[in-house]
């Protein structure tokens, strides 16, 4: 047998240069990414640019005037902003506990074979068009909810937000004083925010470290004990983030609110009483017959809504991202 001499080891040249095909690929992906960035970013810039004339014309009074009377040149968004926040807060107060409990139920309490089915139900709930929730809220929920509203105004009416200008003890109570209120609209919007918050919370609950959960169980903790000491503290970021995401959605909801509320341009804190208006519903109901300057005013209202939702969403996204770990999963 002969032993052939090995060729001397020469270090191979490595280059950081990309293949031409890869260069095209990277360039193309980056271009599309930037295009999407530009188009979505353009919405904000555009709304901001369009609102300059309005802000110059009305100044700060745009934010303090409650009425929307273009024919009298009295335009302001104080009332609609209050209405927007009221509807969103009612939705949040209702949806937060339900979403939290439903998410905890899915991830830790539900029988295992129900779990994937429940997750699909949450997704389905998120996908039901908002206009259908609007019809549901108006025709099915409202006749029920006004009983609750009347009860609350009767017994909690001493708190200003639950007060209704009506005699709750009248022989035939004035149902129309309780319909089309921020309360009913908020309950309906809650149907849209529950699945959104629930999906985020459930995903974070599922990531709770299994070792710590088992340790807590081994120490004799009940299921709720484990949830309280391990899962909920771990998922704090996801709970806050999911709730804020839901808030962002509730602030911008249009169709359901448009169906339910009756427009009313006064700043009122009485959420059970008929009549309120939100920013998005204002835009949807007024863009059609708006003149150029009114359109600019609507765009300014839209810009304010945009800023609020973007801030809420960005904070939510940051909070959620912090509570997430690992860029890729390994084999």
């Amino acid at each position: 047998m002969t032993i052939t001499a090995r060729p001397p080891a020469v270090p191979r040249q490595t280059t950081a240069q990309l293949q031409p095909s890869d260069r095209i690929f990277h360039w193309g992906a980056r271009t599309i990414g930037m295009l999407v960035l530009c188009v979505t970013g353009a919405i904000g810039l555009f709304l901001g640019y369009q609102s300059i004339p309005t802000l110059r014309h009305y100044g700060l009074s745009f934010f303090t005037t409650a009425t929307w009377q273009p024919e009298l040149d009295k335009i302001g968004i104080a009332a609609v902003l209050v209405g927007t926040v009221e509807v969103a807060l009612v939705a949040l107060v209702v949806s937060f506990p339900l979403a939290l409990m439903f998410a905890l139920f899915i991830s830790h309490y539900a029988p295992r074979r129900m779990k994937s089915w429940l997750v699909t139900m949450v997704d389905l709930m998120a996908a039901v068009p908002s206009i259908i929730y609007g019809l549901w809220g108006f025709f099915l929920l409202q006749p029920q909810a006004i009983n609750l509203a009347r009860w609350m105004s009767e017994y909690l009416g001493f708190i200003p937000i639950f007060h209704v200008d009506s005699d709750p003890g009248a022989a035939v109570w004035q149902q129309s004083r309780y319909t089309s209120s921020a309360f009913v609209a908020g309950l309906t919007v809650a149907m849209m925010t529950i699945p959104l918050a629930c999906a985020v919370m459930r995903a974070v609950f599922d990531q709770a470290p299994i070792g710590e959960r088992e340790a807590a169980t081994a120490l004799g903790g009940t299921r709720f004990g484990v949830a309280r000491t391990v899962v909920l503290p771990f998922a704090k970021g996801g709970i806050i983030g999911g709730t804020m995401l839901a808030l962002g959605r509730a602030l911008g909801e249009t169709a359901a609110v448009l169906i339910i509320v009756s427009p009313d341009f006064i700043i009122k804190d009485r959420i059970l009483e008929a009549g309120t208006q939100t920013t998005s519903a204002l835009i949807a109901s007024n863009f059609g017959n708006a003149t150029k300057s009114q359109l600019s005013a609507l765009l300014t209202a839209g810009f304010v809504l945009f800023l609020i939702t973007i801030v809420v969403n960005m904070v939510a996204a940051t909070v959620i991202r912090r509570s997430r770990s690992g860029a890729t999963s390994d084999i």
Binding site: L18, M101, F105, I132, R223, I331
Partner: protein
């Protein structure tokens, strides 16, 4: 030499007759727990039935249920605390509350679906509802006249165009954020993430002012599609990025170690592996797009006639049809609105069946 002693013979013990051992069912409630649960439920039901309307003079079903729940909590806590320590009482109460919360949410979802179909049934039984349009049909006309064929066609065309625009853009953005990366990708990710929850009305308003007011484009299906795509791209990009993230990093490294270029790796390895997740992302976006009301309200214009032309003429769609029919407040028009809502729901449900199939495929792989 040592000797190894034989071990002492083991005495044959007489075993007791083996009892059949069945695995214990974990977490099942014992008989006593069932008794306390059902007993407390009945007790509180009786208490509230008497107290609610007869003694305290409340009214309304919702209030009844809330009072029933609160009473039940108190009764159940008292019953449990007789025989069990505090942590278990808390555990039982929380369990019941969570089951009830789930039941409330599912009940609300269930009533939404069932109520829509029930109210729409009067319109759905007539075949002309699916084959005619509403041109020349008054809102008060009987349900045997007119239909929503034009709205179904409009929704399909508008969503179809929006999908053609948004799917390539959305998936390419997801690939950019996840696979290419670089300096700009973080900015893109931040903007895309915050845009997923952009109020749809603002997307509609943007397209309305730019394309229709400034550039003089007619209110049409195309304008609605573009506005829809604006809201769908961030959804696809974000959900798509999540789908790409769960592709194991080892697959990418293996592909590159075998000499594949980055483009080949993405095209032949990463995207096919993430197929199910990407499909889910697209379906979620379509489901969102189908139901967008504010967008079509602003950009497409409600027509009553059938058109296949997405440019130049107004094009109706299901959400817009529902809204305009609702605003007439005529009972026949509202029945038609619920009929259209049922069709819309069937479309969404169909998408979900497809999604379940996709997810099952992912699980079996």
């Amino acid at each position: 030499m040592t000797t190894i002693e034989a071990p002492p013979p083991v005495k044959e013990r007489t075993k007791p007759a083996p009892t059949p051992r069945r695995p214990r069912r974990v977490r099942a409630l014992t008989g006593e727990e069932w008794l306390s649960l059902v007993g407390s439920a009945l007790a509180s039901l009786a208490l509230v039935t008497i107290g609610y309307e007869h003694i305290l003079d409340f009214s309304g079903t919702l209030g009844f249920l809330i009072c029933l729940y609160l009473t039940f909590m108190v009764v159940y806590a008292v019953v449990l605390s007789v025989s069990t320590p505090r942590p278990i009482v808390v555990e039982r109460l929380v369990t019941v509350t969570l089951w009830l919360a789930a039941a409330v949410v599912l009940f609300a979802l269930g009533t939404t679906l069932v109520y829509t179909f029930l109210k729409g049934w009067g319109a759905l039984v007539h075949t002309n509802f699916f084959t005619h349009d509403m041109s020349g049909v008054a809102p008060t006309a009987p349900l045997t006249q007119g239909g929503i064929f034009h709205a179904i066609v409009g929704t399909v065309i508008e969503v179809g165009i929006a999908v053609v625009i948004s799917v390539p853009l959305g998936i390419a953005t997801a690939v950019y954020m996840m696979e290419v990366g670089g300096k700009g990708s973080r900015l893109v990710r931040t903007v895309v993430e915050s845009m997923t929850a952009l109020p749809e009305i603002l997307a509609g308003l943007f397209v309305y002012v730019v394309l229709i007011v400034e550039f003089g484009m007619a209110k049409s299906g195309l304008a609605a599609s573009i506005a829809m795509a604006v809201t769908m791209v961030p959804i696809i990009a974000r959900a798509g990025e999540v789908a790409l993230r769960v592709v194991p990093g080892g697959l990418r490294e293996a592909s590159q170690a075998l000499g594949a270029t980055h483009w080949k790796t993405v095209w032949k390895i990463v995207l096919p592996s993430a197929r199910a997740g990407l499909g889910t992302a697209v379906i979620l976006a379509i489901a969102r797009g189908i139901g967008e009301t504010a967008v079509v309200l602003i950009t497409s214009g409600a027509s009553s006639f059938l058109t296949f032309n997405p440019t130049g003429v107004p094009m109706n769609s299901l959400p817009l049809y529902i809204y305009t029919a609702y605003t007439t407040h005529e009972s026949n028009a509202i029945t038609r609105a619920f009929g259209a809502a049922s069709v819309l729901l069937i479309m969404v449900l169909g998408l979900f069946v497809v999604m379940r199939v996709l997810l099952r495929e992912r699980k079996s792989r």
